[in-house]
């Protein structure tokens, strides 16, 4: 057996992909590519690879070929730092990551320290999915840019929608017990209280992250509370099992979610039969009605075989190109400066802007519901036959939230 061990150790480095050209612009993609989070991480990787190919077909960025370097972090913050270091050693100046606010916080801090200690070898961190508000507030960094709407922006958009929806009277909050779930909960309380003081918050639940196998006791509580709407930031099995338990018990409420559309979510909703009772808040979706975006979706699905989970990734890469061209340089410091305050027409239509104060991107936000589709909505999800249907669009000005960021600029 020892021989096999040795053999593997010897062979391992030889299995690698050999791709390294001088005139490439490498972007380190740090996300889980093995273990529990891998289904999400692999989808993201395919998205970024598609985007890189798209850019390269049009001549790359300032004539340089864009290459995505996949780095597996196993959703572990320490591992992410090791991978980031590895990427930096390999000459990467741009990293992108999305899964896990803990990873994002660690990376942002790491990049900031790296850039102060190694002037001239700066690294920019493009965040496409970690939504913890602290990343653009108390923990904000000049080297971090976020394209996803942070959880308070999404809540701002949702509550602006709820403000004009009188049917919502009794709201139940159920969230995972960690920083993200808590920020969803406290934002919901604060913003609903300010905009719709007549709404009763009939329950406010935190449950441990990814540890609950049976949600029926929680459903019993929701039922007993008489809620008509539930707001939840749950993702992964926590949203799937929650919805399954609700369908089993015959609970009739509307579900306002952040991540019901994540990998496996649509399959779970279809199983429960909750037709147009599950809503999600995103910056874009397949059936948004915008011609350009829907054509893009078609081409993307044909090539990648997945639905476009991350319209924001499209915005990220296109804005990266725009900023590099504006600065006429791929030097991270100059690109960062060019990104600040940059206005940009987003994929699903409408203007977004990268706010200079905290490097948060603001864009139109959509609320959509999942269920049977109409004629004009061609795209289903995960082969369920059901898809997302537009409920409301919240324009950029209605998504602006204040920041406490005191940006330290180099």
């Amino acid at each position: 057996m020892r021989k096999l061990t040795l053999a593997i150790a010897v062979i391992a480095p030889m299995l690698g992909h050999a791709a390294s050209a001088q005139d490439t612009l490498k972007i380190g993609y740090i996300d889980p590519l093995s273990g529990g989070g891998a289904s999400v991480g692999e989808g993201g990787l395919k998205t970024f690879q598609y985007l890189a190919e798209e850019l390269n077909a049009k001549g790359g960025i300032l004539g340089k070929k864009v290459e995505i370097v996949p780095l597996d972090n196993k959703t572990n913050p320490q591992e992410s730092l090791v991978q980031a270091q590895k990427a930096i050693d390999a000459g990467v100046h741009y990293i992108t990551q999305g899964n896990g606010s803990s990873v994002a916080a660690a990376l942002s801090d790491f990049v900031t320290k790296n850039n102060t200690r190694n002037p001239g070898k700066e690294v920019l961190y493009f965040n496409y999915a970690a939504v913890d508000p602290s990343l653009t507030n108390d923990k904000c960094s000049f080297w971090h840019f976020r394209w996803d709407a942070s959880s308070d922006i999404k809540m701002e958009a949702l509550t602006n929608y709820v403000k004009d929806t009188p049917a919502v009277k009794k709201v139940y909050l159920i969230n995972q017990d960690y920083s993200f779930g808590q920020s969803v909960r406290s934002d919901a309380r604060k913003m609903l209280g300010a905009k719709r003081p007549d709404i009763q918050i009939v329950g406010d639940e935190l449950h441990p992250l990814l540890k609950v196998t049976d949600f029926s006791p929680y459903i019993a509580k929701i039922k007993a509370s008489g809620a008509d709407s539930v707001i939840t930031g749950n993702w992964g099995q926590d949203i799937a099992l929650l919805l399954k338990a609700a369908a089993d018990a015959g609970l009739k409420v509307n579900w306002y979610t952040y991540y019901a559309g994540g990998a496996g979510g649509p399959t779970a909703i279809k199983q429960t039969g909750l037709d147009h009772q599950v809503f999600q808040i995103t910056e874009g979706f397949a059936n948004s009605g915008n011609k350009a975006a829907m054509d893009y979706e078609k081409a993307f699905r044909a090539k990648v075989g997945l639905s476009l989970w991350y319209p924001r990734a499209v915005n990220e890469m296109r804005m990266f190109k725009a900023a590099a061209e504006k600065a006429n340089s791929i030097d991270p410091v100059k690109v960062a400066a060019a990104l600040e305050g940059l206005k940009f027409e987003v994929l699903d239509g409408g203007e977004g802007t990268m706010r200079k104060d905290d490097h948060q991107f603001f864009q139109p936000i959509y609320i959509s519901s999942f269920g049977k589709l109409t004629e004009s909505e061609p795209y289903d999800e995960e082969n369920t036959g059901w898809g997302w249907h537009l409920v409301s669009k919240v324009d950029t000005p209605q998504t602006i939230v204040p920041t406490t960021c005191k940006m330290a600029r180099p």
Binding site: S39, A224, Q237, A268, K270
Partner: protein, 315 residues
Amino acid sequence: MLELIVISTLNGVLFGMLLFLLSSGLTVIFSMMGVLNFAHASFYMLGAFFGFQLTKWIGFWPALVLAPLLVGAIGMAVERYGLRNTHKHGHVAELLLTFGLAFAIEEIVSMIWGKSPLDYRVPALLDFPAFTVFSTNYPAYKIFMLVVSVVIFVALLLVLKRTRVGLIVQAALTHPHMVGHLGHNVGRVFMVVFGVGSALAGLAGVIAGPALVTQSDMAASLGPILFVVIVFGGLGSLPGAFVASLVIALVQTFAVALNGSLASAFGPLDPSTGPSVLSDIWNVTIAQVAPIVPYLLLVIILIVRPMGLMGTRES
């Protein structure tokens, strides 16, 4: 109040029976062979995935029989070619072998079926609400799970305590040589026991798959709680595992139903003290900690009564 108690009790019992279904095989293997099988949850996962695949090909009911048999066969192979050779190196080595196996099985499953959750559905025959209590539906499928658990419990108990086969199996654990001299093939007895235990896990997988999420990380997320059940109930005691499943499920369900925290019992802390360990503990609700209560129970019972609730020996 009555509503809450009735519903929580019902939910607790249903969840408890699911837990027992999962842990019965583990406790059988342990009571008969003294092996703490870390790969048990992996066999359960294999059951769910086989169940999914066979349901697609030949329907749920044939799958309900075939998938556990397949998993049982894999279990027997593991015993024959793995554990038997490791036995001479002691229980730690056996345990570590199953530990490595759990790693490998998870990766093999995700290689074949991918990492996303599968669309594994409740069979149409059982897809209706069985009864309604306080306007909450109870699906027929959950009642089916409950019935299967109880049947397995009774059948196992009868086989082990009332039949000759059970006698030989129990004797083989304590006096393998004597049993061997009496003309029984001890190796085969162990192999069959391990196979049956694995098949039970497989059965649990086929049944629990549609009710929970069938995904390649399902073993990792359920594994630890199964150990809590069988250790809490008393290692190797089948009735112990049954009682422990119920106790743990009920405690957890009722904990979720309660909203109390120290702050609500004794009033909030003086806000001027700012955040501290005390304020964290003070403000946490019972519902928030419900899913970690089983681990607390585990630690407490092992300290107070190391053989567990109904166990007869320590290891």
